[in-house]
Amino acid sequence: MKILIADDNNVERLILAKVLEQSGHEVIQAATGNQAVDFYFQHEPALVFLDVLMPDLDGYDVAYAIKKKQDIRWVPIIFLTSLTDAYDLAKCIDCGGDDFVSKPIDQIIIKAKVNAFARISHLYETIDNQKKEIQFHNDHLIQEQEAAKKIFNNIAHRGCLDAENINYHLSPMSIFNGDLMLAAETPMGGMRLMLADFTGHGLPAAIGAMPTSEIFYGMSKKGFSIPDMMVEMNTRLYSVLPRGIFCCVVIADIDALDKRITIWNAGAPQAYLINQDSGEIALIHSTHLPLGVQSPQKFKVEPVVYPFSESDRLLAITDGIIESVNHNSEMFGEERMLDYIKSNLKNANLCDSLIDESIKFTGDAEQGDDLSLLEVGFPHHHLEQAYASDSQVKELTGTLDSKLGLCLRKISLRKFDPIPLLLQTLLECKELTPHRSRIFTILSELFNNALEHGVLGLDSATKNGSEGFATYYQQRIDGLANLKEGFVQIEIDHKPVGDGGEIIFDFIDSGEGFDFQKALAAGSKHYSGRGLPLLKDLCQSIEFFDDGRHVRVVYQWQANSE
């Protein structure tokens, strides 16, 4: 140990130095107070012996000067004193000293003191190293979280959450609380929204957000239905997430053309479908275990369908707001939540006022979770206009000159949604990228007509009235389940024409056919459920054969026609 001795008495200093050197310490000797201060900062000793009475600067002042500038190191100061007055001895400690020994020097006491302080110094050093290590790890962790947050934000981006029909509340660090909010415009020109809450906190909770949001944006863009997408998410999360981490989710599709919402709740708090005009509030309860819990074989998605128009709003929440607690340990709770919604039906931003309300309720009581709220009104319908980059166009014309055929029979009709497959195949012709939305719309209108009105013989008039939607979609589910036989046959012929191309869609179904003459007549509303006006708008031509069992539409496109 390096030890500084400050003593103006040469004899005393010599003896003390010798005692310390004998114990193997390195000794630095100062004969005056000023020299002691200089040597202290020059040599950085680990221990200091200070004589109290020195001619220039006394021991008290030296101690004060040293302790005043003391860095993070702890360097004990021991006073050498022949003083016996209690006041003088106390002053040694008051001015920053750590101990005192009385003169004349007793080598046994000196050695014992040095050993004791060496032990304490060692302890300080250990604590200091540990503190530095903790600080280092903490800095590192924060740095990593920042980096992780950037990566997460790129992948789990907000999509179209900033659209004007959406209000939301999500804290910037919510990803590390496991909350995830995603929104995408669907190829049909509607909107798909998801609010997810992973169990746990920190990185483990955030990790599941990556595959979830990749699947969300990837599959939504390609036109996959909610059940298909949720099956994919569950399969992925089931294989990826460790036991005990799972994902509660509310997912909804808003179809802006058909004015309906398809919604599914798996493990999340009840969501609210609020009609501002009638004041009716439909509660969307969880009907399934969260994602990542059940094996793909047992996983079953059965969303419900409700009418959804300009006067409707969806409110989805994570458990943060419901479980926020006030000073009396009362929870905000679903009852208070529902009451507030009922008395604030017309509120333009229910999301913000609910946050305010919960803050008013909790006061400054510490909250365990983030408050995530998503409020969605009716979106404007518009068909997305994506552009293909020039390089893609030049290099890949893919399925520009091709014919595609697919026939779905009974069992496949029950289980399989062919639209994403057909869309993706057609879009292998990259020039079609700007036409994605329109082609998706044509495909889904044609397929749903063939399946629902053709094969199942459903009447779209059923959808009218408040119970209508539920009845209609129940009939669809029952019809598919009880289907004895039937088919939908699809042929898609894509040919280059001039600068662009022409796609001929042929859809043939096994149904009864229908009076297409009447349906096509201007002003007819009876068959509007078949989306014929929309198809007429989008397509070059529309023709029916075989009493309406066979429909052919022609879609023509120009390269970079936008």
Partner: protein
């Protein structure tokens, strides 16, 4: 030799200092020599505080090398100096001076050639 040097302390110092024992006593003599000279003039002209400081310093060195009598005389002078109660200056000086010279002679004889 009673009271001149505490032999217990001397032998402990020999043990501590080893070959440097001569250096220690040389340092003691040269430091003290100077202080004895100073003491004479301070006793004649100085104030109580100056007397106290010098006596304190001389006492410290003496105690360290086991010069028991010398240390005791210096301690008494230190106390008197603090209290501003120094009387019979001549007598005090000559007692300390005599004691010191005896210690010096003894040390020189035993440890310094």
């Amino acid at each position: 030799m009673s009271g001149l040097l505490d032999e217990e302390i001397i032998s402990e110092l020999v043990e501590i200092m080893g070959d440097d024992i001569g250096l220690l006593f040389e340092t003691f003599i040269s430091d003290s020599e100077e202080k004895i000279v100073q003491l004479k003039s301070i006793l004649e002209n100085g104030n109580g505080d100056e007397i106290r400081r010098l006596a304190h310093s001389l006492k410290g060195s003496s105690k360290n090398i086991g010069a028991v009598n010398l240390a005791m005389r210096c301690e008494n002078l230190e106390i008197d100096g603090r209290e501003g109660n120094v009387v019979d200056v001549e007598k005090v000086y000559s007692a300390i001076s005599v004691d010191y010279n005896a210690v010096k002679a003894e040390l020189q004889m035993r440890f310094l050639n």
